[in-house]
Symmetry: C2
Subunit: 397 residues, 2 copies
């Protein structure tokens, strides 16, 4: 039995002893984890086993972080970088650039690194900002795009999504571009945050390929590696084909569990990358030595990446079972978080969860009555489900 | 005897055995190190003792890096950050921001972090770029300013320095600002790179305080902590006094020996910082978790910072003695590098040094016949002096 599964059971036992978790849930979860991870090596040895959350060490389900910790190979590489970090690290970047290029089947000069993908959002907007530019987004999406579009004085055009399922109105976005006389930047997060859902890849590609005049597409695929829907695909092949109206954003913060290492990148045609590059320092100098070596090892650590995906799938299924049990509506999640309805005010629910030392997602207007729950480890989600059942008994959810 | 001194002697002994270093130089150096560091704890235990450089492990005296390695306390903090680096690190930034603010006797909202100070140069230029703006620099200074000024389409105004000693012509720069009808950005690196010299602090302050119309001063003090001249002072107090026409740039790459950790910052009035902040992502997200914790510990590690300065002073004095001995003209160095004349072409000298596995500074036109030599450890500089004496015997220097 791997340490991760032992850890799971140890955690569950602790939960059981103190908190009357139903044995059904535990048995089912342990079996699911065992089944799904039987052929995978263990990656969580460096992490503590599950601990009941406290005020000082709350359960952090509010930032879509990856709870399993970085690949141990990546951690080792990061540690080895530290005694060398009195030196500039740019000579260490080429192997990472090659791995990123290979991953997307593009060339090295199609990659521009940045300190996470949030700086990539800024770079892409800055490079295409003009006083006449409109910034087209769904009304419920990741906020950094709108933040920087506002900062650079762009006109924000928000297209309402379906308030029942927050489905993005791609046709509405297309009309907004067509009806506008000036240049447009379309920012599309796919899978989307906070909704966890995807838009149809074929429709997005078709729109990009139609090359609407004066329009740049920023496609943010931060969560792509968590997707299970077989119809989903990255837009990276459009860049490999030479399309210069699309900028793909990627991050190491999610599947690689490296949010604190600040590694992200943009994929685009070589000419576009050159245009973007003046909006950040030399991209090989924007990453730290430990971050470069960790990202390099993490990209090579395929078993870790498989485990990262599986752990999320298993933990998510535990929470989905709970949502079904409580008959709380949720959107089909293709990410490491899930967007579900709660009765009453989010602020009240959030506060009650915080009293249990569980931190959940912030408000995402206009989606009142919805909560974005980041997916923790299977252990953590068992704990959350038990708290949710207690809340149900109290009539809170 | 501390490990650093043992390391020095071990290195020197190795040098002596293989390479006939004059015992005078070794004895003098060891005594100087012993005298200067007697009351300081040892910080170099984690670094290897001096090794004769090889093609695979050359002596790197070409990037003004700090050869002693990061503070061991900083290294330890960086290592401790790695298992937590699946989490976003921005909550760890406030103590570092406080330390940086205290260091300059300003407030936390006077600090904007960036991935090294080279991104700070870009940010400051981007925030003040207009098609009419001129960028005023001495003709021999750090190149990143000119690079980004060109990238943003600014008019570059280079003021020739005295070709005998590369003294910056402050009066000439002032005239360039006065004579220009549009806005100006003045970029002044003090101490300057590659010349290693300082400009008169009182004159710089007086110019800034005169508030020339439409003029922003970017004062880059990357090397300030190495200065020995008692007349030198930082411009930080001008910002504390509320002057909003000056932006001070700082880096952890030099005295803190953290070039590969990518930590720098801008000091300016709160209003200016707000204006600059849209040209980089949330500044607390631009730094990696290991970098934040390492920088925090390094700022607190005063004995390390003292050692870092002393090691440079001692190593520099070894090289200056050599330059005197060989009667090679050099500029008074206030940094961790030294700018000195060489006979003949730099390319030839550089190539010959490289054949000895010693990498020295690149060409800095228009300063033909000058070499920028970064200062290594005392051990390393003993090795370099011996090679230089061999070169003299061959008539190469």
């Amino acid at each position: 039995m791997s340490i991760s599964r032992r850890s799971l059971l140890r955690g569950s036992a602790a939960t059981l002893a103190g908190l009357s978790v139903s044995s059904f849930a535990i048995g089912k979860t342990a079996a699911a984890v065992a089944e799904n991870t039987a052929d995978l090596p263990d990656f969580t040895a460096s992490n503590s086993p599950f601990q009941i959350p406290t005020q000082d060490a709350p359960l952090m389900l509010h930032f879509n972080e990856n709870p399993i910790g970085m690949s141990l190979k990546a951690q080792k590489a990061a540690i080895q970088a530290i005694p060398m970090a009195n030196r500039y690290a740019d000579p260490a970047v080429p192997p990472l650039r090659k791995l990123a290029a290979d991953y997307h089947k593009v060339k090295e000069d199609n990659i521009l690194f940045s300190a996470g993908s949030s700086d990539a959002i800024r770079i892409c907007i800055a490079a295409h900002a003009s006083p006449e530019t409109q910034f087209v987004i769904p009304d419920l999406t990741y906020g950094d795009g709108e933040f920087f579009a506002n900062a650079y004085g762009l006109k924000i055009t928000k297209i309402p999504s379906n308030p029942n399922n927050w489905a993005i109105d791609l046709n509405g976005m297309q009309s907004a571009v067509t009806d506008y006389s000036g240049p447009s930047i379309v920012y599309l997060v796919n899978p989307n945050n906070p909704t966890s859902t995807i838009v149809n890849s074929a429709e997005v590609e078709s729109w990009i390929k139609s090359k609407p005049k004066g329009t740049i597409f920023i496609i943010d695929e931060a969560y792509a590696e968590f997707v299970n829907n077989p119809d989903y695909r990255s837009v990276d092949h459009l860049i490999a084909e030479g399309l210069d109206n699309v900028l793909l954003l990627k991050t190491f913060s999610k599947i690689h569990a490296m949010a604190g290492m600040r590694v992200g990148y943009t994929v685009a045609t070589a000419e576009k990358i050159k245009q973007l590059s003046i909006y950040v320092e030399d991209d090989a100098l924007t990453l730290s030595y430990p971050s470069i070596l960790a990202a390099t090892e993490s990209m090579k650590d395929k078993p870790f990446l498989q485990f990262s995906k599986k752990s999320n799938d298993v933990a998510k299924s535990i929470y989905i079972d709970l949502l079904k049990e409580l008959q709380l509506e949720y959107l089909p999640s293709e990410t490491n978080f899930i967007f579900h309805r709660i009765p009453g005010e989010l602020a009240t629910f959030k506060q009650r969860m915080q009293e249990q030392h569980i931190l959940v997602g912030r408000a995402f207007p206009p989606a009142d009555g919805w909560c974005r729950m980041s997916i923790g480890t299977p252990d953590e989600m068992i704990y959350v489900t038990e708290k949710m059942r207690e809340f149900r008994k109290k009539g809170w959810v």
